[in-house]
């Protein structure tokens, strides 16, 4: 509801996106009637809620295409981009983060921390451009951008098109994730239970694997949940740099055009996703940490 009202408080009228110079007053009125922006806000809201209950997100003012269908189309780019980017990020960040924490006295431990700090400071679009310049323009290994017309039906081409964007997303997430993994590991190393485990005869690596990862994972997972959620729409910059038809670029265009059905649709679906991710992260934490499980019964 907040979303709904804020959107309509923005100056500008969706009808404008449909018209150009030379439009007469009658044309403007006709366009407003067509998109419903001549109705009072409460009326527009009731219509919206009514349709939402039937899971009908309506059709775009501008393209006339069904919002849900269009979101589905865009998801086929954004979901793989985010999820693969995420998995790659975890593969990079978790081992490196642990090494950075455990070996913080060694030069490479410190180097990892410094590089990850740099990674956080670099803007995403700059990293994207850098990656394109190196891998697409100079080395010519992967395409610089775009997505095949037939989408995943053309699997080979679609997969190659995803490599550089996934790498960009992965590096960005990995940089910030690495810091959390490192500090979580540091907390764990200094904790009582590791000391106790070692006193009971475990070697340090054994204690870390058996007790440390499980304990360190809990805070990292909540961070992961939040990062994953922001990446869904945050991938818009990567989509722009690589000319990918994703959810973020759909939202951006829809906002510029005041295409309310598309904006609401994307935000509604992504809110659902964020809630789902949060829920999944919660479940995962309970699975890992029996103490959290206990709380349900108490």
């Amino acid at each position: 509801m907040v979303l709904f009202i804020l959107l309509r408080l923005l100056p500008g009228d969706p009808a404008n996106a449909l018209l150009g110079v030379g439009a007469t007053a009658q044309q403007i009125e006709a366009a407003r009637a067509q998109v419903g922006s001549d109705q009072p806000i409460w009326m527009q809201f009731l219509t919206f809620i009514g349709n939402l209950a039937r899971f009908d997100l309506g059709a775009s003012f501008v393209s006339k295409a069904g919002v849900l269908e269009e979101i589905g189309n865009r998801m086929s780019v954004t979901l793989p981009l985010t999820i693969l980017g995420f998995l790659v990020a975890i593969v990079i960040a978790v081992p490196l983060g642990i090494v950075a924490a455990v070996k913080s006295d060694k030069w490479y431990g410190a180097a990892i921390s410094v590089v990850s700090q740099l990674g956080i400071a670099i803007p995403v679009f700059w990293l994207g451009i850098l990656i394109v310049t190196v891998f697409a323009i100079n080395l010519r290994i992967f395409p610089s951008g775009g997505f095949p017309l037939k989408g995943w039906a053309n699997f080979g081409e679609a997969a190659t098109a995803m490599v550089l964007p996934v790498l960009t997303v992965a590096l960005v997430i990995a940089a910030s994730l690495l810091r959390y993994v490192r500090s979580a590991t540091q907390d764990v190393i200094g904790s009582d239970f590791i000391r106790t485990a070692r006193a009971l005869g475990s070697s340090f690596p054994e204690a870390l694997v058996r007790h440390g990862i499980r304990n360190g994972a809990v805070p990292v997972i909540s961070i992961l949940g939040i990062e994953l959620a922001t990446t869904f729409l945050g991938a818009v910059v990567v989509e722009k740099v690589f000319a990918l038809p994703g959810l973020g670029s759909m939202l951006l265009l829809a906002i510029q055009q005041r295409d309310y059905p598309n904006v609401q649709g994307v935000l509604f679906i992504s809110t659902l996703l964020v809630l789902l991710i949060g829920f999944a992260a919660d479940l995962l934490q309970r699975l890992i940490d029996p103490r959290l499980r206990g709380r349900i019964h108490s």
Binding site: P11, G12, D13, N16, A17, L18, L19, G20, V21, G22, A23, T24, Q26, Q27, I28, A30, A31, Q34, V62, S63, K64, A65, E70, N73, R74, I129, V132, A136, I137, R140, P143, S144, G145, G146, F147, L149, K150, G151, K240, V241, F242, A243, L244, P245, G246, S249, M250, L253, Q256, Q257, R258
Partner: protein, 497 residues
């Protein structure tokens, strides 16, 4: 927002062969080649009367849909679906004979009823076509037989064939042309992925000359750098309109690419609200024109590209005269004019500036320039959508920046209700008379006179004319270089074997 995009609507710079990219040698091209066109202008839907934007003209005009007449890349208006036509003596009745044997992609033959339906689609109440107003003199359309269309007018309209070149002829049985098509052109729509690309396949049953390629894919980008990268990595063969002059250095002087500069009709304009003080005073408007070093501005934005203009009329319009000398750059005379107008100590105004390139840079440049004559500019950045509401509809502004891409748009100075509110009864009459002129020579004479008056009145501050730059891989030839009315005819494009 078709008319505000930075893509040029163009007339031919150089008539004839000089304006056309070098033709490939006979038979050394691949007749089934796929031509990949990179563009920044994705259509929002597939119907040019439903707010699809300029991208649809680029992809569909002349390629998928055809009109009774065609505006060629050289700027001439030529019969397309019309076999012959004649106008009555009083100029109020036009009779068109249609080309025989033309069929739509669905297989239906082209009839007079389709033409009537198509024109009425544009003039309909719900139509969002920017051309609606120019066809408002049409009072009736008759179809005495399947091959004949008779159009009745309420007043002479010398631009009727030109205006009809904007009207797609659509099958009257077609449904949902916002997402599908049924035209008569040399290509059919084969695939469309929103946010990404649109593919056209050669229509093997085409009534006219077959295209010199087998398939055309328009790939859409929102980022100019990504578009240039695609060209650099051979992901696209040709870029319809380069908008970042900095990037040209990568292509000029590189034998793997061809860079062409065509003629543009896109003007960067500082539009005053001529209704309100101080801009209702012609001396103030002239003073600001003289306080603007336009050569420096153009150079700082486009380097060696682009053209200086002294009014809204580009050199390619028949009613062009060089008016850059009317208010030349001269800070001292600008100060004198301001003093005469009663603003010896200057004044302050708000410049509503659209938030996309090049407007913010232009605004800062003007701010610095006008400070030299004591005029303080407050820059107010707004979105394109706000521009439309605040300035175009409500006319609630002092001055604004806008690029006007329209072809033949001197006519807006003949409409006192237009957003800039220029109202000179003499110009209004000249422009109305020009449209009702019996001959083209007469039309040209009247518009030339109107052109000189608006320049003398400094109705707006015409800053410069954009260049129209097309870059292609060197093995691709035959594309339009002027892209008039955002059109990009693909049927003549050849790719070397």
């Amino acid at each position: 927002m078709q008319l505000f995009n930075s893509r040029a609507l163009l007339v031919a710079a150089l008539l004839g062969s000089a304006a056309i990219a070098p033709a490939a040698l006979a038979q050394d091209f691949d007749p089934n080649a796929t031509i990949r066109i990179g563009s920044l202008y994705e259509p929002q839907n597939l119907d040019n009367t439903a707010g699809a934007g300029q991208g649809i003209n680029e992809a569909f005009n002349g390629n998928v849909y055809e009109a009774l007449f065609q505006l060629t890349d050289a700027g001439t208006v030529e019969p397309k679906l019309v076999e012959s036509y004649e106008a009555s003596e009083d100029g109020l009745t036009y009779t068109f004979k249609l080309k025989p044997g033309v069929t739509f992609h669905s297989g239906d033959p082209l009839t007079a009823a389709d033409v009537k339906y198509s024109i009425e689609r544009v003039t309909a109440e719900a139509s969002k076509s920017s051309r609606k107003r120019s066809l408002s003199t049409i009072t009736g359309i008759e179809t005495p037989d399947d091959q004949t269309v008779v159009i009745k007018l309420s007043a002479r309209s010398i631009s009727l064939p030109y205006n009809l070149s904007y009207v797609w002829i659509v099958n009257d049985k077609a449904t949902d042309i916002t997402a599908t098509e049924d035209g008569t052109g040399p290509y059919t729509l084969s695939e469309w992925r929103r946010g990404s690309a649109l593919a056209l396949a050669r229509n093997d049953k085409y009534w006219g000359t077959a295209p010199t390629n087998g398939e055309v894919i328009y790939t859409y980008f929102t980022d100019a750098t990504a578009l240039n990268n695609a060209l650099l990595t051979n992901a696209v063969d040709v870029v319809t309109s380069v908008q970042s002059p900095d990037s040209l250095a990568q292509f000029t002087g590189n034998p793997a690419y061809t860079v062409t500069e065509g003629a543009s009709t896109t003007k960067e304009i500082l539009a005053y609200n001529d209704r309100v003080a101080p801009f209702d005073n012609v001396k103030v408007r002239k003073a600001l024109a003289r306080a603007t070093d336009k050569a420096k501005l153009l150079n700082s934005i486009w380097g060696d590209y682009g053209t200086l203009i002294g009014s809204i009329v580009p050199p390619t319009d028949p009613w062009y005269v060089d008016l850059t000398g009317v208010d030349p750059y001269d800070v001292e005379s600008a100060k004198a004019l301001l003093a005469e107008a009663g603003y010896a100590d200057g004044f302050e105004f708000t410049l509503d500036t659209p938030d996309y390139d090049p407007h913010p840079i232009v605004a800062q440049f003007l701010q610095a320039e006008y400070a030299k004559v004591g005029v303080k500019v407050n820059i107010n950045i707004i979105t394109a959508n706000e521009w439309y509401t605040k300035i175009y509809q409500e006319k609630n502004f002092q001055a604004t920046l806008q690029e006007h891409v329209n072809h033949r748009d001197i006519v807006f100075y003949g409409n006192p209700d237009f957003y800039w509110g220029y109202n000179n009864p003499e110009v209004v009459k000249l422009i109305a008379d020009a449209e009702a002129a019996p001959t083209e020579a007469d039309q040209v004479a009247k518009l030339t006179e109107a052109n000189k008056i608006i320049a003398e009145d400094a109705a707006s501050n015409w800053l410069y004319l954009y260049p129209q730059i097309v870059v292609s891989a060197a093995n691709v030839t035959g594309y339009p270089v002027n892209g008039l009315n955002s059109q990009f005819f693909a049927y003549g494009i050849k790719k070397a074997q």
